[in-house]
Symmetry: C2
């Protein structure tokens, strides 16, 4: 086990699932005093190659990002299922979902985390990078996301 | 309504409730590659003057803080009730609880947020400052904490 399995300690993103992303974007914009960011949709499976619990999933999500410097707030409204986003919204309603750290070398990090009992929940790709969510709910109190940008 | 009701946009803390703070501290320490921080207990009512839903509460919590630069991760294990920490743990298990912003002028900020429909859940004092949690769960997807350090 490395002395720092993530390779860095900087929280780069906090993500939350919401029932209605249009309303949540406006609420956050007012609170933060910033312009509403665009709402995008994650890529379909042929681009994202999204896998949930080891199997391909057609689930997508609407996303919006508030760039607040070091930390980005990510709003997520699930589209379809199965996904960790949909699980969270179904079980807990609008709620915080994950803390994200930027890493380099996804496969090696996932192996290291699996050795700590942090199993992979979901992973996928986006233009210029890839993500993985690992199940830290019980040990850590949160899903942990690894983000790797090329 | 001010153009930025918080007065700043910097996420300074992400808090989560956990079933067992001793275990969670060790898990986070291993993940982050840092020494385990001390576990402290919030002050009793005669010091904290803690109020939950407008009424005095004897509830306390064990706390541990991982200082990661701009962002501190706060682990919270509720002691007694009623508290927003205990509500969260009872309803959702170990899970993310809040995003905190540092503010100046608690009363004015709480008034401004109430005008946006963000009602006060809980507030209290600690050596050198005070906190308030406002109910952003539905609108924002999270409880929002205001922290004011003197």
């Amino acid at each position: 086990m490395s002395s720092n399995p993530l390779g860095n300690n900087k929280v780069m993103q906090v993500g939350m699932v919401v029932e209605n992303i249009e309303e949540a974007v406006l609420a956050w914009s007012r609170l933060l005093g910033v312009e509403p960011p665009p709402i995008t949709t994650t890529d379909p499976f042929d681009v994202s190659n999204a896998h949930y619990q080891g199997k391909p999933t057609p689930a997508q999500a609407k996303l919006a990002f508030f760039d607040l410097g070091q930390v980005t707030l990510e709003l997520i409204q699930p589209i379809g299922e199965p996904s960790t986003w949909n699980d969270q919204l179904s079980a807990h309603g609008s709620s915080l979902h994950h803390i994200a750290f930027e890493i380099k070398g996804m496969k090696a990090h996932l192996r290291g985390l699996a050795e700590q009992g942090l199993g992979l929940i979901q992973q996928g790709e986006y233009s210029g990078g890839r993500y993985a969510y690992v199940d830290g709910q019980k040990q850590f109190g949160t899903v942990i996301e690894l983000l790797e940008n090329d």
